[in-house]
Amino acid sequence: MTTIHVNGRAYQVAVDADTPLLWVLRDTLGLTGTKYGCGIAQCGACTVMIDGTATRSCQVPVESVGSADIRTIDAIEEDPVGRRVVDAWVAAQVPQCGYCQSGQVMAATALLKQTPKPTDTDIADAMTNLCRCGTYNRIAAAIRQAAG
């Protein structure tokens, strides 16, 4: 049994130690907001926050997580910054197919928590997740709006 802390709750999970955090979230805990896109940390669809840092959970073995504070999209609106980001995403009508947007919102939330007033360069450096619908410009606009 491994204990992980997700969205403020402790969960005991019986999974192989090398299981990526992504699959523990999705298949063991049923937190399917976090998406599988590539499995090699290229696309960012699986982005969660681990101790406040945007992290691609497909490449994080559950055994390496320890007692870290994991935050996922499923509880994003409980976080004041996350809530602001979501509201900006809605206002800018960012999502199209929406599949990458969980990861985009998590990456944006982590950025704004660390850098409340990001420059365009900060946004470009932090927002490297792929979007096949090409919503990149609206993502940047929403982040600027959420930053106020």
Partner: protein
């Protein structure tokens, strides 16, 4: 692709005078696509080659395909799609409205658009709609008697019908209320989900009225709302699914789960078309933690386990022997098959072409021309690269039904094929069509490129519900591809510098002929030549010809289909014509469109948007930039596109793209704008980066690390202006794409003097 709207009429009991009345029974959709991947098909059939009839013969063995489909739904033959209100609307006591949409939502915004159209006439605020993809059934065959989500058909094909549906339902509410209140219907009006009797102030909600109202016979002569007083149609309404998609709450196929379900992972044959012959370590794999069972499938091996991660680890640990691919040749994915080899074969073809478009006498014009230019253009295989990897879930229920959750763009067809695979009649297959995490053409029926048949086989074999999920690597191995394409052009240029003739020879294969061959007898595959034919320019002598050379690989519809490469070919060559004749490319287009006011207006609009046409090169912040222009006429819409580029470190940088877009008329300007932005991004991705290469019979890309797609760092500013010319409504999802590759490549030529005729640009180092 638009040929689907103009299919020759098929005799049907319900055939009538209304253009949207069914010409083909809904379930006869099954007859429209070949359906390989079923285990008893011949090898050629498995690879998707066989004549449609042959493959369908294997699928529906007892009688001609159309007769079978028709008899399977004899009762359905009388159904007029879009006419039975209860098939579309569920109105609860709480007055909430659920719309069962004929279309699947995959990012194009169709659910919101449908809510606007129906809500406008029903008199219910679209924001109160819940929209779900309807189950299979004859009511939903609203595209010329067909049901599909694709071809940029959804809104334009169903708009009048869905308006009428909403108006018919509203009329039923009024009549039910008149009976309840014992007043004349003429004394009633409606107000956002209520029927109101103004004289007495009485109000009844649609929810209260629905049980009686929906049982009434519909009238077929209800008046539609005057567009001058539209409140929802043509408004930039927010999409209904945006908050759910911004908070991880939207549910895709990959997110679904059933009680007692096994997770399955697969490993496909490295050479498509080969079969597993032995698994050396089957017992060891079966003993791995959590593994339920190891399976052999057509062209694949699979492991079912208690979690997908365990299934994947086990299936990737399997040591599989595969049958040998054919050594060589172009009619299987042979051991020596290569993209380069196919391209060489296309170029080397000497077969006489079939005329795809002819006007005047091009050969004579070329023979007598002051100047003749020639060029060859090519474009590579492309993957869809939708971010959601394919998955499917199957469960055999105790009542003998098969329940299936499968990403798809044609529910009735998938249902029919699933029924055949499971040995059931179609009415015993319950198909759910989940929201798609992007599609771009990915989820039509492409034989072994869809996972749902594997889910059915594994559910049958294990006696448990099964979810099959393909890893991204398996998706790169199995995705059906935008075909590699090739066209050779020749143009005659007169002494005045204007083109007098154009000839084109397009060699290859399109997805329409491959997958809809059962109904397309036309020897010219429109999906192979669209964008080379039907251009608006007044070049008097034209000879465009097509030579079919089938690809051994699984080919697909890919956002904007033939236009995705052909407008690049044609519009690139048109700039070459302009250069050869000493003409400015914008001025030449204006000249060739002097009798086409709709096109001239678009050219003028895009020029104005960009601050006036200037080709360059010119300097911005110390860097030389230039612009290219292009036009395209895809899916009933018209576009004019300008791109501004510079070159840095041998790579093309695209700074800004301007698109003037005329789809005739629109439903939601915000969604139209988003779709054009998105199409620009995908078109640019293909222009700059994308290429799926075959070498030694196998694909050379495995994931997004070796198949780069457009990232944020390459995204230009995009400006879109919608021009509503009032022409018949055209498509929206795809048409923004085809103008992008030629605008960019024409800009690169203006900047560098170098004409690129082969995509993507990333494979060519570009010097300023």
């Amino acid at each position: 692709m638009d040929r689907l709207l103009t299919l020759p009429p098929v005799p049907s009991p319900a055939d009538g005078t209304h253009p949207l009345q069914p010409r083909i029974d809904a379930r006869a959709a099954a007859a429209l696509m070949t359906a390989d991947g079923v285990s008893n098909l011949s090898r050629r059939g498995f690879l998707g080659f066989g004549a449609g009839a042959l493959v369908l013969g294997a699928l529906l063995p007892a009688m001609p395909a159309r007769a079978q489909a028709a008899s399977a739904t004899a009762s359905a033959a009388a159904v007029k799609p879009g006419s039975r209100v209860p098939a579309f609307l569920v109105i609860g006591r709480d007055n909430g409205v659920t719309l069962l949409s004929p279309f699947v939502e995959g990012g194009q915004g169709i659910s919101t658009g449908m809510a606007q159209i129906v809500g406008e006439e029903l008199d219910v605020d679209p924001r109160r709609f819940t929209v779900e993809c309807a189950p299979p059934g004859p009511d939903y065959a609203v595209i010329n008697g067909l049901r599909m989500t694709g071809g940029s058909f959804s809104t334009r094909s169903s708009y009048p019908l869905m308006r009428r549906l909403g108006a018919t339902a509203r009329d039923m509410m009024i009549r039910a209320a008149a009976a309840t209140m014992a007043v004349e219907p003429q004394s009633l009006s409606t107000e956002d989900g209520f029927v109101v009797h103004a004289a007495s102030g009485r109000r009844l909600s649609y929810g209260e009225l629905a049980p009686a109202a929906l049982a009434l016979p519909p009238r077929d002569d209800v008046a539609l709302r005057d567009p001058a007083v539209f409140r929802y149609i043509r408004q930039p309404m927010a999409r209904l699914d945006v908050r759910a998609k911004s908070t991880g709450k939207a549910v895709y196929a990959i997110d679904q789960k059933l009680d007692g379900m096994l997770y399955a992972a697969v490993q496909h044959a490295p050479n498509q078309g080969t079969e597993p012959t032995a698994i050396a370590n089957k017992a060891e794999a079966a003993a791995m933690p959590g593994v339920h069972s190891v399976h052999t499938l057509p062209g694949a091996v699979a492991v079912a386990a208690d979690s997908w991660w365990r299934a994947r680890k086990a299936v990737e640990a399997l040591s599989v022997s595969w049958s040998a691919p054919a050594a060589t040749g172009l009619d299987t994915v042979a051991a020596d098959y290569a993209s380069d080899g196919l391209l060489a074969a296309l170029k080397a073809s000497t077969e006489a072409g079939i005329p795809a478009e002819t006007a005047g006498d091009a050969a004579t014009a070329v023979a007598g021309a002051a100047k003749v230019i020639e060029a060859e253009y090519q474009a590579p295989y492309l993957a869809h690269g939708q971010l959601e990897p394919p998955s499917s879930m199957a469960r055999f229920n105790p009542d003998g039904t098969l329940e299936l959750w499968a990403p798809n763009q044609m529910p009735e067809l998938f249902q029919s094929v699933a029924a055949q695979a499971a040995g059931l009649s179609p009415d015993k297959v319950i198909l759910h069509s989940p929201m798609l995490g992007g599609f771009f053409g990915r989820h039509f029926l492409y034989g072994s490129s869809n996972p749902f048949l594997q889910a059915i086989q594994l559910a049958k074999a294990t006696g448990r519900p099964v979810k099959v999920l393909w890893s991204r690597e398996e998706e790169f191995r199995m995705d059906a591809l935008r075909p590699l394409s090739y066209t050779r052009f020749r143009a005659a240029i007169g002494a005045d510098g204007r083109p007098t003739a154009i000839q084109a020879r397009t060699v290859g294969e399109g997805p329409l002929g491959r997958w809809f061959g059962a109904v397309f007898k036309d020897p010219v595959d429109s999906s192979a030549v669209e964008g080379i034919t039907e251009k608006p320019y007044a070049i008097p002598n034209r000879a465009m010809e097509y030579v079919k050379v089938p690809h051994p690989v699984t080919i697909a519809f890919w956002r904007s289909v033939g236009h995705s490469m052909n407008d690049f070919f044609y519009e690139g060559f048109l700039d070459e014509i302009a250069d050869a004749g000493g003409q400015d490319p914008y001025a030449l287009r204006m000249e060739l469109l002097k009798d086409k006011p709709r096109h001239r207006k678009l050219l003028e609009t895009v020029a104005t948007m960009s601050g006036g046409w200037k080709r360059g090169p010119y300097e911005v912040d110390g860097t030389r930039r230039a612009r290219g222009i292009s036009m395209a006429s895809p899916f009933g819409s018209e576009t004019a596109t300008i791109a501004e580029v510079s070159v840095r470190n041998g790579e093309t940088q695209v700074h800004t793209v301007w698109v003037a877009f005329d789809p005739g008329s629109i439903v939601n300007p915000a969604i139209v704008r988003s779709q054009v932005e998105s199409a620009v991004a995908l078109g640019l991705s293909a222009t700059l980066f994308e290429e799926l290469v075959y070498k030694d019979g196998v694909r050379q890309s495995h994931n997004f690390d070796d198949y780069p797609i457009l990232s944020r760092s390459s995204m230009p500013t995009v400006h879109v202006e919608i021009v509503e010319s009032g022409a018949p409504m055209g498509g929206v999802g795809e048409p923004g794409l085809p103008g992008v590759p030629p605008a960019v490549v024409n800009a690169v030529a203006a900047l560098t003097g170098r004409r690129i005729r082969s995509l993507p640009l990333a494979k060519t180092r570009i010097e300023v």
